[in-house]
C-alpha cells in the first residue's frame, strides 16, 4: 500500500479540521512518512489472529435500566460558549 499518497484534504474534512494550504502540505508529508514507518506492520503474520481491544476482555458490562441521579442542567451548561433556556445555542443547522 503506497502510504505517501494520502488525500489530506479529504481526511481533514472527515475530521472536521480546517487546514491552511501550508498545513496541508506539511502534514501531508509528515503523515506520509509516519505511515511509511507503519508499513512494517504488513510484515507481521496475523493469519488466524483475533483482534484485541481490551487486555482483560470484559463482555456485556451493563447495569439495571433504572434512572439514577446525574449532572444538573445548570452544571452541564456552565461551560457553554452560548446558552439560553437550558439549551446550548449553536449556528442554525437546518434551513
Amino acid at each position: 500500500m503506497a502510504a505517501a499518497e494520502i488525500d489530506v484534504k479529504y481526511v481533514a474534512h472527515l475530521a472536521r479540521i480546517a487546514l491552511s494550504p501550508e498545513e496541508e502540505q506539511k502534514l501531508g508529508a509528515q503523515l506520509g512518512n509516519i505511515l511509511g514507518y507503519i508499513e512494517k506492520l504488513n510484515q507481521a503474520d496475523i493469519s488466524g489472529v483475533e483482534p484485541t481491544a481490551h487486555a482483560f476482555p470484559l463482555v456485556n458490562v451493563t447495569r439495571p435500566d433504572e434512572t439514577r441521579p446525574s449532572m444538573s442542567n445548570e452544571d452541564a451548561l456552565r461551560n457553554a460558549p452560548a446558552k439560553a433556556n437550558g439549551l446550548f445555542i449553536v449556528p442554525k443547522i437546518v434551513e
Binding site: R16, A18, L31, L41, V49, F56, L58, N79, P81, P91
Partner: protein, 496 residues
C-alpha cells in the same frame, strides 16, 4: 523541609501531630513560588483552596476516630491537567478547552479525597497526552529540574517536574504509551502504570480508551504503592474497569528478590544504546541478581511491531475521542456561518500540530477502504504482543528492561515526529498488553555535550494484576541501590 518528605514520612508526622497539614501545604506552595518560574510545572494552583483543604484535614487529624480509614490524610497531591477536579480548570494542555472549569471529580480524585488527600494544582502536559517531552503543550514548556536545558519527558512532564522539584509529595499522571514511565525515568522518580482497568478512567479525559491509565509519580516505591492502593478499584462509571478485588500493595514491599525469576528481553539489546547507557543497565541487571533474583533470557519477538501498532491504534482511538471538541458545549468556539464551518474553524484554532497529526492518521486508518488494512491489522498485531508477554511470563515472574532509550534530551532535539515516537519504544509493548509496569531510578549518565549527570530509569513489568509483586520487587531494588539520592536537582542550586 516538609515539601521534601515522602508520603510515609508525612503521614507519620501528621498522625503524631508533629506537623500540621497546613504547614506541609504551605511548604509546597513556598517551593512553587521559589522554583516554578524556572521549570513551569504548574499551569495554575489555587492556594486558598489548598490551604482550606489542609485546615479541614487538620481538624480531622486532631480527632483520631475521624482520621481512621484515611491513609493519605493531609498529604498534598498535585494533578496532571487531564484529570477532572470539581471547581478546578481543566485544559489538557490545550487551547481548545478555553476557560473550562470541571463540574465533577474523576473517580480517582474522589477516592483520593476520601482517603484524606489534599488535591491541588494543575500540572502541565503534552496536549491531550500526546507527546514524550511536554513540548507539545499549548500552554508553555516545562523544564527538567535536573537540567533546565532539557525536557522533563511527557506527556506527564509537569507531574514529573513538580515532584522532582519538591513542589508536591506526589503527582498524578496518565500513561497511554509510556507517559508516566518515561517522565519518571527522566526526572529520577518512580513512575507507575497499573494494569489496564485497575484505576477508573472516569474523569480522565480520554486519549486512547483501550490504553489510558492513571498512575502516580513519586519519590519512592512505597509512596506509589500507597497512592495506588487508595485509587484502585472497580467503578460502575467506567465500564472497562475491572471488578475483581484489588490486592493492597503497600504491605507487600520486599527486601530481597530471592526466589524470583526476572526476564531480560533478548530483543532489547542495550548495547545499541551506547556504552554509557549499556553499562547502567548491565549494572542494574547485576544488582537484581545480587538481590537474589535469577535472570532468564526471554523473547518478545513482536515487540518491534509495538511502535507501528500503537501509532495506528492510539491515533484511531483519539480521532474518535477528540471529536467531542467542536465548540458546541464547552471550551473554545470560533463562530462561523454554519455549524460545519464552526467545527472546522474551532478545531483548526484549538488543536496543536501533534494533535492534528494524530487525529488525521487515526481518521485515515479508520476510514472506509483502509479500516481493515490499518486498524484491524493493528488490533491483531496487538494480540501477538500480548501473547508474547504471556509466553515470556511462563519463564519469569517479572520483566526488566530500559524505561527509555536515553536520558532526558534537549528542547527541539526530536523535531521529527517519528523520532519523538521512538522515545516510547520500550514502554509501548506493556501498554498494548495492558500490563502493570513502572520505572525506577537505576543510575546516572552525563550525555555527550551535556554538563550535568542525568537520571535513568529501569522498567519493570509484571503479569496482569501483578501490582503487588511489581511494587514489592521495585522496593527491594530501590532500597539496595539508592540511585535517586546520588544527585540533587539543578533547580535547587539556582535561586529564584
Amino acid at each position: 523541609m516538609l515539601n521534601q518528605l515522602t508520603i510515609s514520612e508525612l503521614t507519620g508526622k501528621l498522625a503524631s501531630r508533629e506537623v500540621c497539614s497546613r504547614e506541609v501545604v504551605q511548604a509546597c506552595l513556598d517551593q512553587i513560588k521559589r522554583v516554578d518560574k524556572q521549570i513551569h510545572a504548574f499551569l495554575s494552583h489555587d492556594d486558598v483552596d489548598a490551604l482550606a483543604q489542609a485546615d479541614a484535614a487538620d481538624k480531622l487529624l486532631a480527632n483520631s476516630a475521624k482520621a481512621a480509614g484515611k491513609p493519605l490524610l493531609g498529604v498534598p497531591i498535585a494533578v496532571k491537567d487531564v484529570l477532572a477536579v470539581k471547581g478546578q480548570p481543566l485544559n489538557c494542555g490545550s487551547k481548545i478547552l478555553g476557560k473550562f472549569v470541571s463540574p465533577y471529580d474523576a473517580t480517582a480524585i474522589e477516592k483520593l479525597k476520601a482517603a484524606g488527600a489534599i488535591i491541588f494544582g494543575r500540572l502541565n502536559m503534552d496536549e491531550f497526552a500526546m507527546g514524550s517531552s511536554c513540548e507539545n503543550s499549548a500552554l508553555g514548556v516545562t523544564r527538567n529540574p535536573y537540567d533546565l536545558e532539557r525536557v522533563p519527558g511527557g506527556s506527564s512532564g509537569g507531574s514529573a517536574a513538580a515532584v522532582a522539584a519538591f513542589e508536591a509529595a506526589v503527582a498524578l499522571g496518565s500513561d497511554t504509551g509510556g507517559s508516566i514511565r518515561e517522565p519518571g525515568a527522566f526526572c529520577n522518580l518512580i513512575g507507575f502504570k497499573p494494569t489496564y482497568g485497575r484505576v477508573s478512567r472516569y474523569g480522565l479525559i480520554a486519549f486512547a480508551s483501550s490504553l489510558d491509565q492513571i498512575g502516580p509519580l513519586t519519590r519512592t516505591v512505597e509512596d506509589a504503592a500507597l497512592v495506588y492502593d487508595a485509587m484502585a478499584g472497580h467503578d460502575p462509571m467506567d465500564s472497562t474497569s475491572i471488578s475483581s478485588a484489588v490486592e493492597p500493595t503497600a504491605n507487600g514491599l520486599l527486601e530481597s528478590l530471592s526466589g524470583l525469576k526476572i526476564g531480560i528481553v533478548r530483543q532489547f539489546d542495550t548495547r545499541e544504546l551506547g556504552e554509557d547507557i549499556d553499562e547502567v543497565y548491565d549494572r542494574a541487571y547485576h544488582d537484581l541478581q545480587a538481590l537474589g533474583a535469577e535472570l532468564h533470557d526471554v523473547s518478545l519477538p513482536t515487540a518491534d511491531y509495538g511502535l507501528a501498532t500503537y501509532y495506528l491504534i492510539a491515533p484511531a482511538e483519539c480521532s474518535s475521542n477528540l471529536a467531542r471538541f467542536d465548540g458546541v458545549r464547552y471550551g473554545l468556539r470560533v463562530d462561523d456561518k454554519d455549524v460545519q464551518a464552526m467545527y472546522e474553524q474551532t478545531r483548526a484554532a484549538g488543536f496543536g500540530p501533534e494533535v492534528k497529526r494524530r487525529i488525521l492518521i487515526g481518521t485515515y486508518a479508520l476510514s472506509s477502504g483502509y479500516y481493515d488494512a490499518y486498524y484491524v491489522r493493528a488490533q491483531k498485531a496487538r494480540t501477538l504482543v500480548a501473547r508474547d508477554f504471556e509466553k515470556a511470563f511462563e519463564d519469569c515472574d517479572l520483566i526488566a528492561c530500559p524505561a527509555a532509550s536515553s536520558p532526558a534530551f534537549t528542547f527541539n532535539a526530536k523535531s521529527d515526529p517519528y523520532s519523538m515516537y521512538m522515545m516510547d519504544y520500550y514502554t509501548i509493548p506493556m501498554s498494548l498488553a495492558g500490563l502493570p509496569a513502572l520505572s525506577v531510578p537505576c543510575g546516572w549518565v552525563t550525555p555527550p555535550g551535556g554538563t550535568r549527570p542525568l537520571p535513568m530509569g529501569l522498567q519493570l513489568c509484571a503479569p496482569i494484576f501483578g501490582e503487588k509483586l511489581l511494587l514489592g520487587a521495585a522496593h527491594a531494588y530501590e532500597r539496595a541501590t539508592g540511585h535517586a539520592s546520588k544527585h540533587k536537582p539543578q533547580v535547587s542550586e539556582v535561586s529564584a
